[in-house]
């Protein structure tokens, strides 16, 4: 367990999600990483029946933390860490609360796990109710708990795999020497899911051609 950052892959015009994954696998293989098994994330969106007094929330289960169920309230404040970690009976508890919170949407991410020295790379396609939504790449650097310390490593590996410039600062929720906890990883996924749920619009413009050129010459 170490600092984990989730990136979103921007589709180039006309590229399908499958093609994007193929391309990503190629890039990851080029770094010398080796495949090590499969992974999955399963998330459920629960909607409050009485929106005046209660809030919506997400649950997340993953193969990376096999005995844990994560739950997080869906809100916009990013730096607040209100993700709880529970035992597996949480799911049957939620069945009991059907009257108050109803499961609306599910999100799934499936893919292949890669290992590169101390890094774990998990590229996968986000699907919701059978349709592909987007492509994510999760990079985990196991030895460190502080994103500030190892960000240069992330930006180097990330910019090569994603083929675009990465922000020179870690995501806001990990900044300022905050110790990493798995809740941060959940929050990043929840942000992506809620973005997909609310709007299909791309938040980030694809990289311009000349930027890519400039970047490639740097390498």
């Amino acid at each position: 367990m170490g600092v984990t950052v989730v990136f979103q892959w921007e589709l180039v015009d006309g590229q399908t999600h499958q093609q994007a994954i193929q391309e990503l696998h190629g890039r990851i293989n080029n770094t010398g990483a080796v495949q090590e098994g499969k992974f999955y994330y399963e998330s459920k969106f629960y909607q409050a029946s009485d929106s005046a007094t209660t809030r919506d929330f997400y649950t997340l289960k993953t193969s990376e933390y096999p005995v844990t169920v994560f739950a997080r309230v869906d809100d916009s404040t990013k730096d607040k860490n209100s993700c709880i970690q529970c035992d597996s009976p949480m799911e049957s508890l939620l069945v009991k609360l059907r009257e108050f919170f109803t499961p609306k949407r599910t999100f799934e991410i499936r893919g292949t796990r890669f290992k590169l020295a101390d890094f774990w790379i998990r590229p996968g396609i986000v699907t919701s109710s059978g349709s592909n939504k987007c492509v994510t790449i999760e990079i985990e650097y196991t030895p460190s708990y502080f994103a500030d310390d190892c960000w240069p490593l992330f930006s180097e590996l990330g910019s090569y795999i994603l083929n675009r410039q990465i922000d020179d600062k870690p995501p806001t929720l990990m900044e300022n020497n905050k110790q990493f906890n798995p809740g941060m990883m959940v929050q990043q996924y929840v942000e992506i899911f809620s973005r997909k749920a609310t709007t299909q619009a791309n938040f980030q413009q694809p990289m311009k051609q000349e930027q890519i050129q400039a970047y490639n010459t740097q390498m």
Binding site: A48, F57, D75, N81, K96
Partner: protein, 235 residues
């Protein structure tokens, strides 16, 4: 609880996660759901001056392990829907072993009829990280009551025996000794068994155990709604 799991398989079987909880069944909506658990219980009380007798009796009756002293801090939360339905959750944490996860417990309505010899309710207990209280408040739950229970835990096979003293706190969140007010002059005795719903009825086991405690404590099936309708509890 291990006796069922071990048996013929012995060591070879993976000592994996909780054996009860891994039994998954599909419910009517096709949601993967772990089998619901039911709690069978009997309750009684004993005056403070006779607690030592009960402790000695329990030491003889229960498993050959030391009784476990505990201090638990419990808060109950409730949520009311627009249609008037309410759900109550209990959050408990151990002050004796503060590293252990918090527990979130949902207890269903009393299962009446079927001529049950003891109190039977559906229940779900979930281990949680310590920010579960803030999570519940975010969701919209409201904290109702808060109390501290102090006492001893005994075990006999799958039967859990809790002998506890309920205390109120003068100020919320302060659980030091001088800040505690005992609620009554007696101790609560509760024996309970948790099994998969629809499994074999542990009622006779519990009854048998209650019989053996008879002269000191009278364990009965308590209908909480009756108490609530008769008198308001003083907390």
């Amino acid at each position: 609880m291990n006796s069922g799991k071990m048996g013929a398989a012995g060591l070879d079987q993976e000592i994996g996660y909780n054996p009860i909880l891994t039994a998954t069944v599909k419910n009517e909506q096709g949601v993967r759901d772990v089998g619901t658990l039911s709690e069978y219980s009997l309750q009684g009380s004993v005056k403070d001056e006779f607690v030592e007798d009960v402790k000695n009796r329990l030491r003889g009756l229960c498993d050959n392990v030391e009784c476990e002293p505990f201090i638990d801090h419990e808060i109950s939360y409730s949520l009311q829907s627009s249609s008037g339905n309410a759900v109550t959750m209990r959050v408990s944490r151990s002050l004796a072993q503060s590293k252990m996860p918090w527990q979130l417990k949902y207890v269903g309505a009393l299962e009446t009829g079927k001529n049950k010899s003891c109190l039977m309710r559906n229940q779900v207990t979930v281990g949680c990280s310590e920010n579960v209280t803030s999570f519940l408040t975010e969701l919209g739950f409201r904290a109702d009551t808060e109390f501290l229970s102090k006492g001893y835990l005994y075990r006999k096979g799958r039967i859990k025996v809790v002998l506890s003293k309920l205390c109120k706190m003068k100020e919320p969140g302060q659980h030091q000794e001088q800040n505690l007010l005992p609620l009554t002059k007696s101790h609560l005795v509760e024996v309970s068994v948790t099994t998969l719903t629809g499994g074999e009825d542990p009622g006779p086991d519990l009854k048998h155990f209650a019989e053996m405690l008879k002269p000191q404590v009278k364990l009965t099936k308590v209908d909480h709604r009756e108490i609530q309708s008769h008198t308001r509890p003083n907390f």
